[in-house]
């Protein structure tokens, strides 16, 4: 009996799931808990590939063929610990799976040599996965007890980095798709909607609208055709939660989609995914083909009378596609421009039919809820926000990666306990939560819990889950300028406040981070006029824009001005950037005792701002200096510093 036949007859369609010893043994084999030959896992998610995981994989295969070792190599997704990539796990028969970090191609041979000879190369060990069936290594930590994993609560990411994402058998052997089939045979569609409603699951894409209510609206709307769209167009710069889920555990999402489609009565579903996510698209297509092979897609699935189709739509990319109505337009082959609501898509959406649009993370929670019951999910989190939230923590934190925490965890714990604080022992300054249209949170606000309402009251938003940690070397004005530049490029141009307003804010910020050619007349007037209008302009954009992009666009500016007003004032009045990021505001000076008078900088200075005799220390005339930094780059003696 092939794996496929075995899984379908014994697991998926079995009336009474009472497995005999043989079946259990076989399941453990499929899960790779019982193995006959060594298994080597390499984390080849997109983040791993950038770090060189493809070379590590190649080196591993070469090693195995050279030494004539019969072993299996498995490509797994991202476990979430990006700063430890490339990750290489080794599982020897009877022993537990042990994980090594930062294994580039040159380290493959020494590490594998050691482990195959029974020595644990301590320098590279990350931890081991405990399993009662396996014999544990002495003196190696449990991977779940590392500070990074210990304080997390993983529901969505539970299998990421552990299972083979391109093999449906691995997923089914861990209980996958049983929940879907249980729904088809035991629950009515209303019941599924009720369970989701009771669980308190809310949209993870940013808005936080109750998912159950959305489903019920679509369920109760009468129509000959309904659609479900999974929004995987994650275009927030610096967020990659959805990509990691799709790359690492695509079937968890697909099962969620299948259940959601059943609940609302949709037979056609779309996954709208960014074109840049090549690997994620590949994994999705493979996974969908495997679902078909197992009879989980198509007509009359397992004789339940239910039809299901899943289509992958590749998005040509636009940030505004996060807005439901814009996404619908894009699938229909139009410009991704939002439309006024109502009618809400759940009543009239794609091709004018009822359409539910859910985020990847939302749908990945669905299976867990139906498997463990709404109470299991309900008991996690705070009064109004249930369950967990995945964050992509990047920037200046010691550890960067994917972190899934219970709702209600404070931001402080998230950054300092799990992500290990700030790297290089610098000072924490602020974090940006919610992506480019999110807000910055300063140190005094770090005790905020992760919760839709608490963040909202503090003037921040949950957003899709990007967190950027900033240290003392980050300039807040420059940060806001970066976000405004992004937003003004991504503004679709339909409504004027957003199109013109974001552009104006960006211009004003450009003005205050630039050294004006003259300090008199019109230039100065324009500069201060713009600054005086920043706050008013933000209000207008927020109040009059059509969609979420415009309404939240001034957030980074407003929050940064609230918490870091002194920094703005410093840029405006003193023309100084303390962090030294705003290039044109930098002032250089030469340290007399380090300067050898080599005249290298003097020759290169485009404005003749450097004076001095050969073999005598030079100095810089501040008024002439334009802050280009050429002298800083050419100085071989590190004599030039930024003031």
């Amino acid at each position: 009996m092939s794996d496929r036949e075995f899984l379908i007859s014994e697991i998926l369609t079995a009336k009474a799931p009472d497995h005999g010893q043989a079946a259990l043994k076989r399941l453990a084999e499929i899960r790779r808990e019982r193995i006959k030959r060594p298994v080597i896992y390499v984390g080849t998610g997109s983040c791993g590939i950038v770090a060189g995981a493809d070379k590590t994989l190649q080196a591993t295969r070469n090693y195995l063929s050279e030494k004539n070792i019969d072993a299996e190599t498995v490509e797994v997704g991202c476990i979430g610990l990006c700063s430890a990539e490339p990750l290489l796990d080794v599982q020897l028969p009877g022993k537990s799976r042990i994980s090594f970090r930062n294994i580039d191609e040159s380290l493959v041979e020494p590490v594998l040599d050691d482990i195959f000879n029974g020595i644990v190369p301590q320098d590279y060990v990350l931890g081991q996965f405990f399993n009662p069936l396996h014999q544990a290594y002495q003196g190696v930590d449990d991977i779940g007890q590392l500070p990074f994993f210990k304080h997390q609560h993983r529901i969505v990411l539970a299998n990421c980095g552990k299972i083979d994402p391109q093999n449906i058998a691995d997923y089914i052997a861990r209980g996958g798709y049983q929940t879907y089939l249980k729904c088809l045979s035991n629950y009515t569609a209303e019941k599924v909607c009720d369970i989701i409603d009771e669980s308190g699951l809310r949209g993870r894409g940013g808005g936080g609208y109750p998912t159950g209510r959305k489903w019920k609206t679509a369920h109760n709307t009468v129509s000959d055709q309904k659609y479900l769209v999974c929004n995987a167009a994650e275009s927030d710069p610096g967020a990659f939660m959805d990509r990691a889920v799709i790359e690492g555990d695509p079937h968890a999402l697909l099962e969620g989609i299948a259940i959601a489609a059943y609940a609302i009565g949709a037979t056609k579903t779309y996954i709208y995914i960014m074109a840049d996510y090549q690997q994620a698209i590949r994994h999705l297509r493979t996974a969908i083909a495997q679902m078909k092979e197992y009879g989980l897609l198509g007509y009359n699935i397992f004789k339940s009378g239910i039809d299901l189709q899943i289509n992958v739509v590749v998005s040509p990319g636009a940030f505004v596609c996060g807005e439901e109505t814009a996404l619908i337009n894009s699938i229909q082959g139009k410009r991704a421009m939002p439309m006024p609501k109502p009618p809400h898509p759940a009543v009239e959406g794609l091709f004018r039919k009822p359409t539910v649009i859910n985020n990847v993370e939302t749908l990945s929670n669905v299976t867990y809820i139906l498997k463990n019951g709404p109470q299991a999910f309900n008991s996690i989190g705070t009064a109004t926000s249930k369950g967990t939230k995945v964050f992509a923590v990047t920037g200046k934190s010691a550890v960067t990666g994917l972190i899934e925490v219970e709702m209600g965890t404070t931001l402080k714990n998230l950054v300092f306990k799990i992500a290990g604080g700030i790297k290089d022992e610098k000072q924490f300054k602020a974090l940006q939560i919610g992506g480019p249209s999110g807000s910055c949170v300063p140190e005094q606000q770090l005790s905020l819990p992760v919760d839709y309402e608490s963040l909202w009251e503090a003037g921040a938003i949950m957003g899709s889950g990007g967190i950027v940690v900033m240290d003392e070397n980050t300039c807040m004005v420059d940060m806001v300028k970066f976000f405004m530049d992004f937003l003004q490029q991504e503004s679709c141009g339909k409504c004027i406040p957003c199109r013109e307003g974001t552009r104006r804010i960006h211009e004003i910020l450009e003005n205050i981070t630039r050294r004006p050619p003259s300090e008199t007349g019109h230039e100065v007037l324009e500069r201060f006029k713009g600054i005086m209008q920043l706050e008013g302009l933000s209000e207008v954009i927020r109040d009059t824009s059509l969609c979420g992009l415009g309404q939240t666009a001034p957030n980074p500016l407003v929050s940064a001005m609230k918490w870091f007003r002194d920094e703005f004032e410093e840029h405006i009045f003193d023309r100084r950037c303390k962090a030294g990021v705003c290039k044109e505001l930098r002032v250089f000076y030469i340290e007399v005792d380090k300067c050898t008078g080599c005249v290298a900088c003097l020759r290169k200075c485009p404005t003749n701002a450097i004076v001095g005799q050969p073999r005598q220390p030079h100095f810089i005339i501040e008024d002439k200096c334009i802050g280009c930094g050429i002298c800083y780059d050419v100085c071989k003696f590190v004599a030039i510093t930024i003031k």
Binding site: S46, C82, V313
Partner: protein
Amino acid sequence: MPIDIDVICSRYKKGSREALLPLLQEIQEEAGYLSEEAVVAVGRYVGLPSSKVYGISTFYDHFRFMPKGRYHLQVCGGTTCHIEGAVSLLREIEKLLKIRDGQVTRDGMFSLQVVNCMGACSKAPIIAINGEFHTVLSAGDLALLFDVIRKRA
């Protein structure tokens, strides 16, 4: 590389608006960019004026209207890369190659594109050359890298 637009079109339903974006994407994947002829031909097949097709395709960042260089440079424009100094890296590339975002060098060797987050934030700032990633580069490394590529070609 000449491609047969009619063959690609025939895989999609004639006159269907939903086919527009996938069709354009497939042409771009095959040819590397959207030529004027491609836009006109697609417009005719889908039943839209070519002005409209061009309008929609310029709306999305994904489409390009110039052929790629032999070496296609992608610079990550994500938030983390920005904090870690992607801007100065980009300026350096612009200075070295004398092209800007979306342009191709005159000899057709290099093309430059700023892209959304590539998801390797822990290794920021990163650039990709023909899909191969390079991390933690200084200005000197860049000049050396371009020299090596030029010599190899």
